[in-house]
Symmetry: C2
Subunit: 218 residues, 2 copies
DNA sequence: CGTTCAGATGAACGACGTTCATATACCGGC
DNA sequence: GCCGGTATATGAACGTCGTTCATCTGAACG
C-alpha cells in the first residue's frame, strides 16, 4: 500500500509497459539494492519494495529468487565488461603483446576487489542442490553479457597463441584456467578477509606474472 | 515433539559430559549433516535435532551460526589435510621436486571436486558485512587445522625455492597465489556447473603445469 | 453495458536465525 | 538429609526469509 499512486497502474497507457519493461524495472531496482545496501540486502521483499511492487509480483517475471539473481548478474556484468574493455583500450599501443593480457587480468582483479558485493552476485552465488547437479544442464540460464566477457578473454588468449607468444594450446582451456586463477584470488580475498594476506598489489602481480610466464612459449 | 522420548533429557548422567564434549558432539552432528544432506541442510535447527538438543542450546556453545560453521570447517579441514598429506607421501620418492608440489595441488583440487559440500563450508561460506569489513580483523577466528594445511603448502614452496627449482621469491606470496588459483578452479566448477567447461582433467593439468612453469627458475 | 481475463495483491505457510523467561538438574553449605 | 544458588537446557516467541494462492481489479472486447 506504500506508493501505489505511482506504481499500481500507470493509468494512461497501461499496457504500453510490456512485461519485458517490467522485468527490466525490477532488475534495475535489484541492482540499486546491491549497489547501495550490499549483497545481503538483495531480498525478494526488498527488491519488490524498491520497485514499487508487491513481493508476489516478482514471481510473474521470475520463477524464483535464483533466476532474478541471474538477471541481476547479467546486468552487473556490464560494469565488469566495461572495465576490462577500458583496460584493453588503454594498453592498445603497447608493443608487448603480453601487456594486453596483463591489462585484462588486472582489470578483472581490480574490478572484483573494488566491487565485492557485485562480484558476489555474479560469481559467488551458490547453486542449489550442488550434490545432485548434472554438469552441462545449467540450473540457471547463462548470462549473455557474461559469455561476452569470457569470449573477450578467450580471444585475447587465442591471439597470443597465434602470435607464438603463448605456447600452442586450446585457447578455451587456457582462458578457463586464467579466469579460474583470477577468480580464486578475488573470491578468497572477499570470503576470507581475516587471513593474513600479503599485500594485494604483490599478490596480483605475482599471480599475473606467473600465469603469463607459465603459458608463454620457450 | 518428534523423538522427545530419547532426546528431551538424558535423565541419568546429564552433566558428566563437559561443555567441551558437548561442543564436539554438536560439531560432529553438524559434520554428519553436511556429509549426508549437503551444504544447504546445515541449519541450526537441523544440527540441534540431530545432536539431540534444542536449537537454543546451540547458543550456549557458539555465539552464532557463523561460529558454528567455523568450528565445522575446522573439523572438515582434517579430511582435506589428510588427502594432501597422503598425496605428498605417495610422491615422496619422486626424483623431480616439482612432482611434490604437483601432487599437493592435484590432491587439493581432487578433494574439493569430490567433496563439494564440505568445500563450500570450508572455503565458500560468505562473511557477513563484506562491505564494511576490515582486513586483518577476522570476523571469525581462523581454524587451526586450516592454518596447518596452508603451512604445508607454504613449506613445500619454500623447499622448492631453497632448492633453486623455483625462482627466488617470498614463499608466503607464492603459496597464496597457488592456493588462490586452485581455489578458483574448484569454486568456479562448483558454483557454475552450467558453464561449458573443458574436461576437468585437462583443466587441472593445464593450471597446475602453468603455475609450476610460471614459478620455476630459468 | 457485460463479460472475460491477465496482472497484481494481501495474507498465509513453513523454515530460518536468534532471544528470552522459564524450568530443571546438579552442587556446595547447613 | 535438606536447601538454596547456579549453570544448563528448554519451549515459545519475534522478525525475516522465499514462495504460494485465493481473491480482487481494471483494462479490452463484443
Amino acid at each position: 500500500m506504500a506508493r501505489t499512486a505511482a506504481g499500481r497502474r500507470p493509468a494512461a497507457k497501461p499496457r504500453r509497459r510490456s512485461a519485458a519493461d517490467r522485468r527490466r524495472q525490477v532488475v534495475a531496482a535489484a541492482r540499486r539494492i546491491v549497489l547501495r545496501e550490499g549483497f545481503e540486502a538483495l531480498t525478494m521483499r526488498r527488491v519488490a519494495a524498491l520497485a514499487g511492487v508487491s513481493a508476489a509480483a516478482l514471481y510473474l517475471y521470475f520463477p524464483d529468487r535464483l533466476s532474478l539473481m541471474a538477471a541481476v548478474a547479467d546486468d552487473l556484468f556490464e560494469g565488469l565488461l566495461a572495465a576490462m574493455r577500458a583496460a584493453v583500450a588503454r594498453a592498445e599501443g603497447d608493443p608487448d603483446p603480453r601487456a594486453r593480457l596483463h591489462a585484462v587480468m588486472t582489470a578483472y582483479l581490480d574490478w572484483g576487489l573494488t566491487h565485492p558485493d557485485e562480484y558476489r552476485v555474479i560469481f559467488m552465488t551458490p547453486i542449489t542442490g550442488v550434490a545432485g547437479h548434472q554438469p552441462g544442464e545449467p540450473g540457471v540460464p547463462a548470462a549473455p553479457t557474461g559469455q561476452a566477457t569470457f569470449a573477450a578473454l578467450q580471444a585475447e588468449v587465442a591471439r597470443l597463441i597465434a602470435l607464438g607468444v603463448f605456447r600452442p594450446a586450446e585457447p578455451q582451456v587456457v582462458a578457463e584456467a586464467i579466469w579460474a586463477a583470477g577468480h580464486g584470488l578475488v573470491s578468497l580475498l572477499i570470503t576470507k578477509p581475516g587471513f593474513p594476506w600479503s599485500p594485494r598489489d604483490r599478490l596480483i602481480g605475482t599471480l599475473a606474472d606467473a600465469l603469463c610466464r607459465g603459458f608463454s612459449a620457450g
